[in-house]
């Protein structure tokens, strides 16, 4: 009954891990941005992703358009929603103790999930598109996951370019390095916060669109992504944006390898244990600098 592990199997799960990891990195980058700039852990990040997934589903249903083409629409819509959330609620807890922001965004999270249940029902939905896989040697590559990997990698790269070399992107980085100096540089920190929340939500939406084509959609699909994203940014070093990439790939691989070597049941626990261990050894994450 014990399955003998072969190199092919290990290769296959490493492929799965890397494909998943890029997606993790992109979604987590959104959470990392908000945490880096405002020190807020946005528990509603996953539910925003869920909304993105529904956006893709309904657009695909209504127009029959290639679901990947809905990406700009869902990202734009969630960008706006993110800005509104920040404007209406989150800005009030930016400097409050962490309990306030955790709870506030948790409240937003369950409200969003419940609204989705009311609006869309709890019925499972799926975007049946690109379901097959192709083979390369002994390995199977899921087409939808491969596309998700490529798009996520491209968007993540785009986000890095934006942060690295545009005026607004630099303002976001500046704000996360020192809010005080950013203000005296003339940066409207409130606006940067709005922009950051909007961008982060757009990244969640992109995740939602890509995931919609991979797994079935339902209102509660999001929460798990909040926690995975948090794992990713802690592993990579909170506030360190390239760290999200490292953390995402690491989490993807660890989860997959754990479910191969142990069982699927334990893989979630392994990820959390890894988190606590990393925090204890390097409180600022794998790529993080000295904690201040």
């Amino acid at each position: 009954m014990n399955v003998v592990l072969t190199p092919v199997m290990i290769g296959q799960v490493i492929i799965s891990g890397i494909l998943a990891g890029a997606l993790y990195a992109m979604v987590a980058l959104g959470l990392a941005l908000i945490f880096g700039v405002m020190r807020v852990i946005n528990i509603a990040h996953g539910p925003l992703l869920m909304l993105g997934a529904y956006g893709t589903y309904f657009l695909w249903q209504a127009t029959g358009v290639n679901p990947y083409l809905t990406l700009p629409v869902t990202m734009a819509a969630l960008f706006v929603l993110g800005v509104l959330l920040q404007r209406a609620l989150v800005f009030r807890v930016v400097d409050a103790p962490e309990l306030s922001s955790l709870l506030l965004t948790f409240g937003v999270s369950i409200a969003l999930v419940n609204l989705a249940q009311l609006a869309f029902t709890s019925d499972l939905r799926a975007v049946e598109f690109l379901t097959a896989s192709f083979r390369l040697g002994p390995f199977a590559f899921s087409k939808s996951r491969l596309v998700a990997f490529a798009v996520a990698a491209a968007i993540t790269a785009g986000a890095f370019v934006f942060l690295q070399s545009t005026r607004l992107g630099k303002a976001i980085r500046a704000t996360s390095q020192s809010r005080e100096v950013a203000m005296v540089c003339g940066i409207d920190v409130q606006r940067i916060h709005l922009l950051t929340f909007g961008l982060a939500s757009a990244l969640a939406a992109a995740g939602g669109t890509l995931i919609a084509v991979i797994v079935a959609i339902q209102p509660e699909m999001g929460q798990i992504w909040t926690f995975k994203s948090f794992l990713v940014i802690v592993l990579g070093g909170a506030g360190n944006y390239p760290g999200a990439l490292v953390g995402g790939l690491l989490l993807g691989l660890v989860e997959q390898l754990a479910s191969l070597f142990l069982t699927t049941q334990l893989s979630e626990a392994v990820a959390y244990v890894l988190l606590v261990v990393v925090l204890l050894i390097r409180p600022s994450g794998l790529l993080g600098g000295r904690q201040t």
């Binding site: 852990i41 609620l89 309990l99 306030s100 955790l102 419940n114 009311l118 204890l280």
Partner: protein
């Protein structure tokens, strides 16, 4: 203060007597609803002990409830213990767990501690499912049928009272002051010679016992437990919101918060089946934004009242 003291004690005594007499007049549902309220008071009060006093936000406090449930259920089903000692053993199991996870996690600060606790709750749920030889895994544990709602009502009530009394004793002691120094300024506390780590650990330990016991009582009363129903994140959040609403760091805040929110929850869910989650979310947001200090916290600050209100 000293003049008012006997009056307060009389009030408390009358209240307790009324609660003790309630089952003779209440319906089965009323008794069970009160029993649930006691459970929430014990849970909220316990969370307040660690997070309200030391400021270390436990986002995984339901883990102690869950481990208490399982310890009790295992002792009852596998070792045929009577439910009362088994529930108390649930409290002990929770305290042991608090030691084991507090030891690494209390070295973390701020949101890291909060999320690590949350993560460990998940890990625990997974482990409970995994070690199915002992726990029945996903099958859960079904306890032998027993009608003991009434004695459980009293023990649950006693636990809630004990947690509240413990809060009072701690808040009025120098041990309690030292716990609060951790919330106020951990570095200064340490520099003054307070072993902050040991104090945090003690607080976590004390705050674990109550949930462990009520977890055991709830398991016994319900007769069936499974991993997903005893480790839900929503329970932790509910405790936190109750404490925040009533006023964290006070004696009666958790009691008030638990009573108001529980009654509200019971009143709302029957009427707005599809909206209650939404309302719960709205309540959380409202409490965080409008009254982060809670009802009693505001009164305390405004009228310079002692924390024992």
């Amino acid at each position: 203060m000293s003049a008012r003291r006997p009056m307060v004690l009389v009030l408390i005594a009358v209240g307790l007597a009324a609660l003790a007499a309630y089952p003779t007049v209440g319906t089965g549902y009323g008794v069970r609803a009160m029993l649930q309220l006691f459970m929430w008071i014990a849970l909220a009060g316990s969370w307040n002990l660690v997070s309200g006093l030391t400021g270390y936000v436990s986002f995984g406090h339901v883990a102690f409830f869950g481990i208490g449930s399982y310890a009790t259920a295992i002792l009852i089903t596998r070792a045929a213990w009577p439910w009362l000692p088994a529930s108390l053993a649930g409290g002990v199991a929770a305290a042991v767990l608090a030691l084991v996870i507090g030891y690494p996690c209390l070295r973390l600060k701020g949101p890291y501690f909060a999320i690590a606790m949350l993560g460990l709750n998940e890990v625990l749920r997974v482990l409970v499912s995994y070690f199915e030889g002992l726990t029945g895994g996903g099958l859960g544990l079904s306890l032998p049928t027993l009608q003991a709602t009434l004695p459980i009502y009293y023990v649950m009530g006693a636990t809630a009272a004990a947690v509240t009394l413990l809060t009072y004793l701690i808040l009025t002691s120098r041990f309690g002051l030292r716990l609060m120094t951790i919330r106020e300024d951990e570095i200064a506390a340490e520099a003054l010679g307070i072993d902050t780590f040991r104090h945090k650990l003690s607080a976590l330990l004390l705050s674990a016992v109550g949930p462990g016991i009520v977890g055991g009582l709830a398991a016994r009363d319900q007769g069936y437990i499974e991993p997903i129903s005893v480790f839900p994140l929503a329970t932790t959040i509910t405790m936190i919101v109750m404490v925040l609403f009533g006023g964290k760091g006070t004696v009666w805040g958790p009691v008030l918060g638990a009573a108001v929110l529980f009654v509200f929850q019971e009143a709302v869910w029957a009427r707005f089946i599809y909206l209650h989650q939404l309302l719960f979310g709205a309540i959380i947001i409202a409490v965080v934004l409008l009254m982060p200090r809670g009802v009693l916290g505001l009164l305390q600050l405004k009228y310079r009242l002692p924390r024992t209100i």
